[in-house]
């Protein structure tokens, strides 16, 4: 039956079927209202799952931590259950391991990404690039075992004594000589660097790869060397992606648990120097879960610590989003 509104319809020509709703068969229009409401709500459900989960986790942590229990003492530096519940040393420990690890992971990740996108021939990067993805898939317990059995002794006998000998004039590097078991900050930072490295490398690599070939050639065409083009064109162009790499890398390092519990020699104190031991929030929660099992006070303290860890991670994430959104980019006509 010809559609009267179709412009191509004429007496001697069959009108083309049109994809507009009015041109379809009449049955398509007769939708039951109930069905359409459900149908329209369905996509909201999976989309709402993450938000619902986050709210549920926060509510449960707030409930189980009995927030008023510890008061301001919770921010103190003395952690001596069941007498003292100050978590400041663990908060400090989490930052003292995650921030240096992030610094190294960003520096090395930038190096790998620049080499792979701008210097090495394509046939080599085709072989080398997948290894970064493979590194991302190594379970953290494997890093922990490897760190404990192999890396820590090496740090204890070779690297830490070397660093102590040559850097002890620096504030934070002098004082107590490092112990020979090697457990402590340096090996913790080393392992965390390796764990954050795949995500920083992958994101920085993608950011640099997104630089249009035209822009590369424009930089080189103005007489910039390859390095100058990387520094003055590619890195600014990819700055959004590079910044996200930093924030996601921090998230990866900040919450790492098992490997840190194994290589840090977790203690509830500030590290004596760069070679000392300390604890992170995540590692302490993991290690004291057993002792806390029959102690409601202790469980509440761990819940509150989890809440603090979550709050810091979320805050860093939100700040990161803000910063990234502030980097102005415009659509380039014709690019």
């Amino acid at each position: 039956m010809p559609d009267p509104s179709a412009p191509v319809a004429s007496a001697d020509r069959e009108p083309l079927p049109r994809p507009s709703p009015s041109g379809r068969s009449p049955r398509a229009r007769r939708r039951r209202p109930y069905g359409s409401v459900v149908g329209r709500l369905v996509p909201y459900l999976p989309a709402a799952v993450p938000a619902a989960l986050l709210v549920a986790i926060v509510l449960e942590l707030v409930r189980s931590s009995q927030l008023t229990n510890f008061g301001w003492g919770f921010w103190g530096s003395r952690w001596d259950p069941p007498d003292a519940w100050g978590i400041a040393t663990f908060v400090a420990g989490s930052f003292l391991t995650a921030l240096p690890a992030l610094f190294f992971a960003m520096a090395i990740g930038l190096g790998i990404a620049i080499a792979s996108t701008s210097y090495l021939p394509a046939w080599i990067t085709r072989w080398l690039d997948p290894f970064v993805d493979l590194l991302a898939g190594i379970p953290s317990i494997v890093y922990g075992i490897w760190g404990y059995l192999l890396v820590a002794p090496y740090f204890g006998t070779v690297i830490n004594p070397f660093l102590y000998r040559h850097l002890s004039f620096l504030p934070g590097f002098g004082g107590l000589p490092p112990l020979s078991d090697g457990l402590g900050l340096p090996v913790g930072i080393f392992i965390l660097t390796l764990m954050a490295l795949p995500i920083t490398t992958l994101l920085i690599r993608d950011a640099l790869r997104s630089v249009p070939r035209d822009l590369w050639e424009a930089g080189l065409g103005l007489g910039a060397t390859r390095w100058e083009t990387v520094r003055r064109v590619a890195i600014p162009y990819g700055s959004r992606g590079i910044l996200s790499a930093a924030f996601l890398g921090f998230g990866r390092a900040f919450g790492e648990t098992v490997a840190m519990a194994m290589v840090l020699n977790v203690v509830a104190s500030y590290p004596a120097n760069a070679f000392g031991s300390t604890g992170t929030m995540a590692a302490e929660m993991f290690l004291s879960l057993d002792s806390a099992y029959n102690n409601s006070q202790w469980l509440a303290a761990l819940s509150e610590m989890a809440l603090v860890l979550l709050a810091i991670s979320l805050a860093v994430n939100l700040i990161g989003r803000r910063l990234i959104a502030q980097i102005v980019t415009y659509d380039v006509p014709g690019l």
Partner: protein
């Protein structure tokens, strides 16, 4: 003027230039001189090698893997393909503007200053030379009050003139333009063409274009490439009105009708 540049003030002399890709020859024994204060349009059908030709004038061609260059491009007496010559230095003297605007994601000022920063100019010098370059590119009046604005907020035509200013800032003698208006609308094209016509007084301009009408409007000499061969070169009016090579005639009429 410069019908053929055999006279005294030759700036760039292309001598027996041949560029080979693994499977085929892109440019075959092309020789052509470029004189000071001239605008030569390089035209020809798609795939004739005109972009490769202009990219071989500042060694940009080397960025495409697998291409092999033979012959010489002599710039003020120096073969730029001499192994002792640094391609980076070549590109600072022989500037290039691309098909699509390629402004960097930074301010207008920093875009224009890009090349000057590379050579480590003093900041007071940079400010003076940026103004000078923007004036020459015909963009100064439009942007002088907000040089700190992101360059990407400019229109496509303004971006392309900024790219021209950026290439001029380091004071090259030669400016290569590879279809600089192919991504622009007619009004923006017209302004870029006006800029080119002003610039040809002071520079050697080499304009690659697929648009014979544009070549007719702005150039004083036309070089026609066909399948990698230079089949005709001469004053614009002469080539367009009385082409000597039948292939040229075919190309021109095909384009004009």
């Amino acid at each position: 003027m410069s019908g053929d540049a055999n006279g005294h003030d030759v700036v760039v002399s292309v001598q027996h230039l041949t560029v080979r890709a693994p499977q085929r020859t892109i440019l075959d024994d092309v020789s052509l001189d470029f004189a000071a204060s001239s605008l030569t349009a390089v035209v020809g059908p798609s795939g004739c090698g005109k972009t490769t030709f202009v990219r071989s004038l500042n060694r940009m061609v080397e960025l495409t893997p697998g291409l092999e260059v033979d012959g010489a491009v002599v710039y003020l007496g120096q073969d730029i393909y001499d192994p002792r010559v640094n391609p980076v230095m070549v590109r600072r003297r022989i500037g290039m503007v691309f098909q699509r605007p390629t402004v960097f994601p930074t301010s207008i000022f920093e875009n224009a200053a890009f090349g000057l920063r590379l050579i480590g100019e003093e900041i007071s010098e940079i400010e003076r030379e940026v103004e000078e370059a923007l004036l020459r590119a015909g963009l100064w009046e439009e942007v002088k009050d907000d040089l700190d604005r992101p360059a990407l907020s400019l229109s496509g035509g303004q971006q392309q003139r900024l790219c021209i200013a950026r290439a001029l800032a380091t004071q090259p003698r030669v400016l290569l333009l590879d279809e600089p208006t192919s991504a622009l609308d007619p009004a923006a094209t017209q302004r870029v063409e006006a800029t080119m016509q002003r610039l040809k007084e002071d520079y050697v301009l080499v304009l690659v274009t697929h648009n014979v009408a544009q070549a007719a409007r702005v150039s004083d000499r036309i070089a026609v490439l066909h399948a990698g061969h230079l089949i005709e070169v001469g004053p614009t009016a002469e080539v367009l009105e009385r082409p000597r090579n039948p292939l040229t005639a075919e190309f021109i009429t095909g384009r004009f009708s």
